[in-house]
């Protein structure tokens, strides 16, 4: 079996904020009826969290569950366990209208650390980055430049950005350019 690597292979950029390739991250797209008890139970088993509220991400011991759309969740799990968890979800939700798919290698994940995270993301996204709208653990699906991304803030100084792996390098370079030292407008800091 080939050696799995993440999109940017642990690249790090240090500017006004630090941008890191988050490494291998297990990710599962789960579609189904989010109001059903069976799905809630399956998500709890897979990630240790409850189904997130609309537009939020719940983190637990084993992983996290992010609300992507009214019928879709993104489960963040251990990379090595992803396939096993997909099989378990298929089994637990068999007979219902659902889909579970391992998308770990189809996405790239970056973490951004520093005080200026809201400013860096606001450079490329039309999303309202103020704390009132984008609180901690609010998942915002939006665009960065012309590319679809999703991001959330784990705290006021850490953000996580997920994008398609095929544009991973571009997004990393884009974020690095946006985070050049002395280039932040300081609108949110």
């Amino acid at each position: 079996m080939s050696n799995a690597v993440s999109a940017l292979q642990d690249a790090v950029f240090k500017g006004s904020v630090t941008i890191k390739d988050a490494g291998l991250q297990g990710m599962i797209t789960l579609r189904g009826d989010l109001s059903s008890d069976a799905l809630a139970k399956a998500v709890k088993t897979a990630t240790g969290t409850a189904i997130p509220e609309t537009g939020c991400i719940n983190s637990g011991k084993k992983g996290a569950a992010a609300w992507m759309s009214p019928d879709e969740l993104l489960l963040l799990v251990d990379y090595a366990q992803a396939e096993t968890i997909v099989a378990k979800l298929d089994k637990a939700l068999a007979g219902t209208h659902m889909l579970a798919s391992n998308v770990s290698d189809a996405r790239a994940v970056f973490t951004i650390e520093g005080k200026g995270i809201r400013d860096v993301l606001a450079k490329g996204s039309p999303a309202d980055m103020s704390a009132g709208t984008l609180g901690i653990n609010t998942l915002r699906r939006t665009r960065l430049g012309q590319l679809p991304v999703a991001f959330w803030l784990g705290s006021e100084t850490t953000a996580t950005v997920i994008c398609f792996r095929s544009v991973g390098e571009h997004v990393f370079n884009w974020l690095s350019t946006a985070a050049q030292k002395g280039s932040l407008p300081g609108h949110y800091t």
């Binding site: 609309t54 537009g55 609300w67 992507m68 759309s69 009214p70 879709e72 039309p126 999303a127 309202d128 709208t133 915002r140 699906r141 939006t142 665009r143 679809p148």
Partner: protein, 108 residues
């Protein structure tokens, strides 16, 4: 700049995060329809100066289609509502009537 609130995810989305889907509530005449109906379905669109009902897709967000009512002249957004409906909700129509007393009402 047009800001529409997606009724599915509650996000106040910028126009650039959305894909326009044209006029809403069009009756789709398919196989077996007469030529006039089919022509109307394919080509005839309203182009009002004022209240207009439209379809939009939250393309860079949750990906769902929804409906929006807005004024084509002032860009005022009256409201957004679910995509799973054949006509605008009554509450929204009443709201628009209050704001635009001259409006002729929703015509399919």
């Amino acid at each position: 700049m047009l800001l529409l609130t997606c009724p599915y995810c509650g996000v106040e989305a910028d126009e650039t995060e959305l894909t326009p889907g044209g006029e809403a509530h069009i009756t789709r005449h398919g196989a077996g329809a007469n030529d006039d109906d089919f022509e109307t379905y394919l080509f005839m669109r309203k182009n009002p100066k004022g209240v207009h009902f439209e379809r939009w897709r939250h393309a860079f967000g949750c990906g769902k289609w929804f409906h929006a009512a807005r004024c084509t002249m002032t860009l005022e957004v009256f409201g957004t509502y679910s995509g799973q409906t054949f006509e605008p909700p009554k509450t929204l129509i009443n709201k628009i009537k209050k704001k635009r007393p001259d409006w002729e009402g929703f015509v399919k």
